[in-house]
């Protein structure tokens, strides 16, 4: 059954690749008339620009009903969140030119650098001007010239984001490739592979090895992207995805013992044994770089270098100033054990109300003064009554990518040996149960047989 599914998946992927290689209808017209932005796309795809303005990719926000201490009637997300991986958001870190550093150098920076508009029409903007500002090609072109997309000052001194609207880029369009997605998604949080720490390469992710690309799993419908349930990824387009369903069955293993585990263990737990990227940051301490600019001090690891932590997760999220992570328990009947990339960040909290404060990065990038960044952010947000005190926040990121090949997945002893990766006591099992769960009787015969077969 699993083999049959794999054949179907690979078949679909090959078909998709073939479809991608074929010219997009309308290429002749584009070559003849040139590309005039979204209105060229809308000649064949009417209404798509307006549709896109209603998605998380444009709004960086949505209504959120699975996270504690968030009003479910309001829209929130990257637009206005404050947490310690980024400690800023699109509002306080709106794309801008930072003040000159000690060497007289300046540069552009902002959380909304990846927003697919032109910055004049920015996060959450609406109307005909916003529709025509969409950078369709950054997601759909395989010949996008990224040197043409950069922040510059226009004649009025306003910072705008330029785009590649060349005929060549427009003539080479199709479904988004892995590269189209990773241009933005690999660089979040302060550099390549920092935030989530996964790599979508053939070497690192078994789906890519099989020719499967991001949008084969994140099956887009009307520009709305299904997402997984990362406890730190709040905004969503209203559709979710799981491993099981179209691609994998609920009992995908040939081994009945493994299939029994799927009731309480998420697929990711065994099949994504490693994570990577930054595991700690200190926004109160900025380090001077050789170019004279400052960066928040960050402890980081390479892709696949960090062991995840494991916890029960019922797909709802505990959200306090000190902790963002999974809710759930062994006994609630809804939770499964999932792997998480754990991250701890230090930033300033408001002593007057205990809330985490945000930081405008422009001042500390220029001179390392993190408190000036807090003051600037407070001014932008209209916060007058605050007293910044440093403190730590712990965040659990979902570990949902970088699926390893079958032979590298966790096996019986990886969890059930005494030095296994699961801490059964912390997961809610009593001493007697832990003793049973870590008894070699559970797996010895099975693993011995496997060992004999492989010798």
């Amino acid at each position: 059954m699993t083999g049959k599914i794999a054949v179907i998946i690979v078949g679909c992927a090959l078909f998709a690749t073939a479809a991608q290689a074929k010219d997009h209808p309308g290429k002749e017209e584009i070559l003849k008339d040139g590309y005039q932005g979204p209105k060229t796309c809308e000649a064949c795809h009417p209404g798509k620009a307006k549709e896109f303005l209603g998605t998380v990719h444009w709004k960086h926000a949505s209504k959120i009903d699975h996270v504690d201490n968030i009003n479910p009637d309001e829209e929130h997300g990257m637009k206005d969140r404050i947490y310690t991986m980024c400690n800023g958001n699109d509002i306080v870190n709106n794309l801008k030119e930072v003040p000159p550093n000690a060497l007289g150098k300046t540069k552009f920076t902002g959380c909304n650098t990846c927003h697919p508009g032109d910055h004049t029409s920015d996060v959450g903007s609406t109307g005909p001007q916003a529709e025509q500002a969409i950078d369709c090609l950054i997601c759909h072109s395989s010949k996008y010239d990224f040197s043409k997309r950069k922040p510059v000052k226009d004649k009025d001194g306003k910072v705008v984001m330029t785009q590649d609207r060349s005929t060549e880029a427009a003539a080479n369009i199709g479904r988004p490739t892995i590269k189209n997605c990773m241009v933005c998604h690999e660089a979040a949080g302060g550099g390549a592979m920092i935030k989530r720490g996964f790599s979508m390469t053939k070497e690192a992710e078994v789906h890519v090895t099989k020719g499967i690309i991001c949008v084969d799993c994140h099956k887009v419908k009307n520009h709305k992207f299904p997402t997984g349930r990362d406890p730190n990824n709040w905004a969503h387009d209203g559709i979710y995805m799981t491993c099981t369903g179209e691609c994998h069955s609920a009992t995908p293993h040939t081994d009945a013992d493994y299939n029994r585990h799927t009731a309480k263990i998420a697929c990711q737990t065994c099949h994504i044994p490693k994570t990577g990227g930054a595991f700690s940051k200190d926004f109160t301490k900025w380090e001077k770089q050789s170019n004279g600019f400052y960066e928040p001090s960050t402890l980081k690891r390479e892709v696949n270098e960090t062991a995840p932590v494991y916890a029960w997760y019922n797909l709802t999220v505990k959200n306090t100033p000190q902790f963002i992570g999974p809710k759930g328990s062994r006994s609630d009947g809804k939770s499964k054990i999932y792997p998480f990339k754990i991250f701890q960040g230090k930033a300033y909290f408001n002593k007057k109300n205990g809330q985490l404060l945000s930081m405008d990065f422009a001042p500390p990038i220029a001179n390392g003064d993190s408190l000036a960044g807090v003051a600037s952010a407070a001014k932008i947000l209209g916060i007058k009554d605050y007293e910044p005190v440093p403190g730590w926040q712990t965040i659990y990121f979902g570990s949902n990518h970088q699926v390893s090949p079958k032979n590298k997945a966790l096996s019986c002893a990886n969890c059930h040996a005494l030095n296994g990766v699961l801490n059964f006591k912390e997961l809610g099992y009593n001493s007697k149960e832990v003793e049973k769960l870590t008894n070699p009787e559970l797996y010895f015969e099975k693993l011995l047989k496997l060992q004999q077969e492989n010798e």
Partner: protein
């Protein structure tokens, strides 16, 4: 005869030791941050050289890049001249081979 044998053995040992030292030195891993002043892609697209101006010393260092991910970033100009790069590279004689080549800027 025994003396000649001893001399030959000592010389062989010295040669082996010096080669080992050279090999260790040649495999030295270095890191730097610098601005790209020139990128040259090989005609077959399978390698490239980038000249970086070291932000600390101002010296120009030529790095050879062979990993597909970085080469792709040169081809579609996600990395261009003027970008600031953080790199780790292996120095072997006159050739510096990139082990990591990333833009310093995030978002």
């Amino acid at each position: 005869m025994r003396k000649i044998f001893s001399i030959v053995m000592i010389m062989a040992l010295m040669l082996f030791t010096s080669l080992a030292v050279v090999k260790t030195a040649s495999a030295e891993e270095l890191k730097m941050t610098g601005t790209i002043t020139k990128i040259e892609l090989a005609a077959d697209g399978k390698s490239a050289t980038a000249v970086l101006k070291d932000s600390k010393t101002g010296a120009s260092v030529t790095i050879t890049i062979t990993d597909d991910l970085t080469l792709d970033k040169f081809k579609d100009k996600r990395i261009v001249e003027g970008d600031e790069i953080r790199t780790k590279y292996e120095k072997s004689g006159d050739v510096n081979t990139s082990k990591m080549f990333k833009k310093t800027a995030g978002c």
